[in-house]
């Protein structure tokens, strides 16, 4: 019985291969976009974890310098002699055959277990590690490194991307930092009675184990953004699947009734239909995971560049197949199928055996369903309103987006229907009246693909508005901040002194870039010391301030904070901030600081030097009326290498390059989502084409040519796409507002002004119309070629 029933169920797909293709392709595409994004995320996260594990940040407390980035080796010796069990680490970057490699030096004899290369843990003799200089390098950088260093290089997958591990002596030699350390790892079991830290090494700060890497936490919001896009793409794909399943089940209502009339128990029938769906989901999921791998492989280099540019996080550019990832891909395909098919299965399970199995529009035709849809849309909009007003955090932000998008999708057919009704009432002429009425009749069948189109277009409008607003703001911000004509980096403190003396009479102003990593108001932040002058007072624009700002900052009586720090620590103008050693200053200004993930505060140079006398600037901004001449003099007379001098234009160009790459992934996902929506429309029109013959045959019989009918089909698709675009525009702008005013603030800590880009929207509208025309072209062509014998069958009494 089961076999016969399965044969009957599967025969439907065999006879309707296009429907099967729609289902598999829709689910496959949805899974591909989702699992592709997840693969990128999981690759990035595993890179962060590998880095954290390599450096021991996650598991062990560490000693770090209070200021600067160097610990003298003598301090390490002093601590060991005093009984402190600590292990030294030196990290820095070098260039090997044009590729940046992070060199991490450790001491295998004192390092706690679990730190170091896998090869060392799996049998290599530690003595060999010490006696024969060897570097254990991530395979991606092993080759370039081997050609650049005299030591043996062993590829090791366990080492973090872009990193090589070696003995600390080798690292000091390669990085040209003899006698210097970056950090000290504190071994968990320490002897009793050792002297307190501040007596032996008062310049060091104990930093507790991170329990996960800093970078991982810092980039969480970026990955959440990617996940949200993946989910949106998945949702668009699920609309296709829902449509395909709904249509297949609707077309099989008669078969289900017959099967039951012939004695097939309902329960077993429903179970078999569910099993059939899950089997198809498994196939589509497998296809989707394979496609997702390709998507991820294509996106990963851009994501890696973005993460390095934004957060300085090293992510492997090579993708690995992780079981958790492909299993989750299959899981989401199954979950999506259950979501899309549950309603159809439920209706089949509840359908009385004697219920009419006659033709019925395959979705959303009943008044009751329309009422439910309207109520759900209103409820979602209300929820969006509540989340916008009272939500706090990134998850409510995305919840707001989801409510807004889903509510609008549900409301779309309810809004289109009266619009088409108005068109029908206003039109004159029998053909156009029929056209409007017929378009209205088609609405239920096309609803799902139009919803998908609405979501894709709104996402496009929203994201492009956000990115373009960001770009405008960012360019303005770079003009403000990069006011100096030249930026120069000295090799060491001595050269820095020499440089300052050299340029003193040649420039309008020398602006040392003094900074220290610290914690402000409980938040990790950079503290800057500014040499206050016209460069700052004329260029910096405040989001909020209490004037006069700069004279107070220069006098060491006030502090400026960036928006990220103000938001994270809940700081406002006039509040006092502890900038170190108990010095508390009122906040005089809050500045926008776009593209920077960390908090920042600016105090006057004199106060900074007083608080951190050991910090010496090695980077300077130079204000010059003739930057070219100055650059030439610095190279020729002072002997600075050309690479140490960067002009303002190059920094701006570099920053804009980072910016553009940051949003390459978003743009790619945008295009893919629109493509999926176009595909949804094509599939809907193709599957509906077969059902159209009985509807079009009377019009044909009454005198419309097949060609005219085909043209009208094309026109109908364009009309519906245009109306959908008209609704996608306000929805997209609302989406942009949520992204700019809520999601960005939560994710990155800054709020951007929103600008409108009418020409971009016009281009998108043309693209959407083109996509709809393309999607409708084939079905319309097929219709115009329908043999008269097929149209005549509609009137055959015998059928």
């Amino acid at each position: 019985m089961t076999r016969a029933c399965l044969q009957a169920l599967f025969s439907h797909w065999w006879r309707n291969p296009l429907q099967l293709f729609t289902l598999l392709a829709g689910l496959g595409l949805a899974t591909a976009l989702w699992s592709g994004v997840q693969a990128v995320n999981s690759e990035a996260r595993s890179s962060y974890d590998a880095a954290a594990a390599t450096l021991g940040e996650a598991r062990f407390d560490q000693l770090v310098p209070r200021a600067g980035d160097t610990i003298p080796q003598q301090t390490f010796v002093a601590l060991r002699r005093a009984g402190w069990k600590v292990a030294p680490v030196l990290s820095g970057t070098m260039t090997a055959n044009g590729i940046r490699v992070r060199i991490v030096g450790i001491d295998p004899l004192t390092a706690p277990g679990g730190i170091g290369p896998q090869a060392l843990e799996t049998g290599t003799d530690p003595a060999a590690f010490l006696s024969q200089p060897v570097l254990f390098a991530n395979p991606e950088v092993a080759d370039p490194l081997a050609g650049a260093v005299p030591d043996r290089v062993v590829p090791d997958k366990g080492v973090a991307p872009g990193t090589a591990l070696t003995d600390i002596g080798v690292a000091q030699r390669l990085l040209e930092r003899p006698g210097e350390l970056s950090r000290l790892i504190i071994v968990p079991r320490q002897p009793m009675g050792r002297p307190p830290l501040d007596r032996i090494a008062p310049d060091l700060l104990r930093r507790p184990a991170q329990g996960g890497s800093d970078v991982r936490r810092l980039t969480d919001s970026f990955h959440l953004n990617l996940s949200a896009f993946g989910l949106l793409s998945f949702a668009v794909g699920i609309f296709i699947v829902h449509g395909a399943i709904g249509l297949a089940f609707e077309q099989r209502r008669a078969m289900v009734r017959t099967l039951r009339a012939l004695g097939m128990p309902l329960r077993r029938l429903v179970i078999l239909m569910a099993a059939e769906l899950l089997m198809l989901a498994l196939v589509a999921g497998a296809i989707g995971v394979l496609l997702g791998y390709a998507v991820a492989a294509a996106l990963l280099p851009d994501v890696a560049a973005t993460l390095e540019g934004l957060y300085g996080a090293q992510v492997s550019g090579a993708l690995q197949l992780r079981p958790a990832w492909w299993l989750s891909g299959l899981g989401i395909a199954m979950a999506g199928t259950v979501l899309a098919g549950a309603g159809a299965l439920w209706r089949i399970a509840r359908m009385p055996i004697l219920h009419s199995a006659g033709a019925r529009a395959w979705s959303m035709t009943s008044r009751r369903w329309r009422r439910v849809q309207a109520v759900a849309a209103v409820a979602l909009f209300l929820a969006a309103g509540i989340l916008a007003r009272h939500g706090d955090g990134l998850v409510p932000g995305f919840g707001l987006l989801a409510c807004l998008l889903l509510g609008a999708a549900l409301a779309l057919p309810l809004l289109l229907d009266p619009l088409l009704d108005v068109g029908m009432r206003r039109t004159r002429g029998v053909v156009s009246e029929w056209f409007w009425a017929d378009t209205r009749q088609q609405l239920p069948g096309l609803s799902l693909s139009l919803m998908a189109l609405l979501l894709a277009m709104a996402a496009n409008v929203g994201v492009s508005t956000m990115v373009s607003s960001f770009r405008l703001t960012f360019e303005g911000f770079l003009d403000q901040r990069l006011a100096s004509e030249l930026y120069v980096t000295a090799e060491d403190k001595a050269q820095a002194e020499e440089l300052q003396a050299f340029v003193a009479s040649r420039v309008r102003a020398v602006l040392p870039l003094l900074s220290v990593e610290t914690r402000l108001a409980g938040v990790a932040a950079d503290l800057y010391g500014a040499r206050v002058g016209p460069t700052y007072s004329e260029n910096w624009k405040f989001l909020d301030s209490r004037k006069p700002v700069w004279p107070h900052v220069a006098a060491g009586e006030a502090v400026i904070v960036n928006e990220q720090l103000a938001r994270r620590a809940g700081l406002t103008i006039g509040e006092h901030l502890d900038v170190g050693q108990g010095v508390r200053l009122p906040i005089a200004g809050i500045v926008g600081d776009y593209g920077n993930p960390v908090g920042q505060a600016v105090i006057g140079e004199a106060l900074f030097r007083k608080l951190f006398p050991e910090i010496r600037a090695t980077r300077f901004g130079l204000r010059s009326n003739d930057p070219e001449a100055l650059r030439a003099a610095l190279i020729r007379e002072l002997g600075l290498p050309p690479g140490a001098i960067v002009d303002q234009a190059r920094i701006k160009a570099f920053s804009m390059r980072v910016f553009e790459r940051t949003f390459t992934v978003t743009a790619a996902l945008n295009v893919l989502t629109l493509a999926v929506a176009g595909f949804a429309m094509l599939m809907s029109l193709l599957t509906l084409a077969g059902m159209r013959v009985p509807q079009l045959a009377p019009a044909w019989a009454l005198g419309l040519t097949r060609r005219t009918l085909g043209r009208l089909e094309l026109l109908r698709a364009m009309l519906l796409a245009a109306l959908t675009m008209a609704m996608a525009l306000p929805l997209g702008l609302a989406l942009a507002w949520v992204l700019l005013a809520i999601v960005n603030v939560e994710a990155f800590g800054w709020r951007l002004p929103m600008y409108l880009f009418p020409s971009d929207y016009a281009v998108l509208g043309v693209c959407a119309l083109a996509a709809a025309t393309l999607a409708a072209a084939w079905p319309a062509w097929r219709l115009s070629r329908t043999p008269p014998s097929d149209l005549l069958k509609v009137f055959s009494n015998e059928r």
Binding site: M1, A4, A8, T258, R260, A261, L262, M264, E798
Partner: protein, 218 residues
């Protein structure tokens, strides 16, 4: 007695309260007998057929088929009844559009676990469907489709064949031809036939005739 129907009642909810479709119907039918059920539209003919075939549940009364009570069966039991003991021929044929003719004919017998290739081949020949096996229902005429539906029903060797206006969708000549074939084949199997029809001519060809009017047998 193969079929024994006693005081059968059935009503449906209407806009202004319940509508009594059957108000106490009783009759019996033996193996090999043929019975025509006639009556005006809305008199309850199809409802009675659906109740006997286990497609619907009665409000009151009993139906016994081969001594076993049908009215007390649950959904699962009624499905088993339709699978094994009863065969139904519909006016609208109700073939499975995605299966070819051969698969459609064998379908119910396979569901019942009683597929017999020789019998199916005999039925196919007898009903003039030879050479049509690879076609799909949409490629057949109405008469051919109904022949496939009859073959499907008889291939499962039901004890009772129920036919709901089986020729209602066919022209007169085809209807007569199809009915001849059905009667001949039913007679061969020794099954009983209960047929709903509007046509007095077709009804006259049955052993017995019952007329339903306003939910009661006359």
């Amino acid at each position: 007695m193969l079929l024994d129907v006693d005081d059968l009642k059935k009503s449906y909810d209407g806009p202004s309260g319940p509508i009594e479709v059957l108000r106490g119907v009783s009759f019996a039918l033996d193996s090999g007998q043929t019975l025509a059920l006639t009556g005006e539209s809305g008199s309850g003919k199809s409802t009675l057929l659906h109740l006997v075939g286990g497609l619907d549940e009665a409000d009151a009364g009993t139906i016994r088929l081969g001594g076993a009570e049908v009215t007390g069966l649950n959904d699962h039991g009624r499905a088993a009844l339709r699978r094994g003991s009863v065969g139904i021929v519909f006016q609208q044929f109700n073939l499975i559009p995605s299966l070819d003719v051969d698969a459609n004919i064998a379908f119910q017998a396979r569901l019942a676990g009683a597929a017999d290739p020789d019998r199916i081949a005999r039925l196919t020949d007898a009903l003039g469907l030879a050479g049509q096996g690879a076609k799909y229902p949409e490629q057949l005429s109405g008469g051919q489709q109904q022949r496939v539906a009859i073959a499907r029903t008889l291939a499962a060797r039901p004890r009772l064949v129920l036919a709901d206006e089986p020729t209602g969708n066919l022209d007169e000549a085809t209807a007569s031809e199809v009915l001849d074939q059905m009667l001949e084949l039913v007679a061969e199997t020794g099954a009983a036939l209960m047929m709903v029809t509007h046509s007095p001519g077709l009804a006259a060809r049955m052993n017995r005739q019952l007329r339903l009017s306003a939910g009661l047998l006359q």
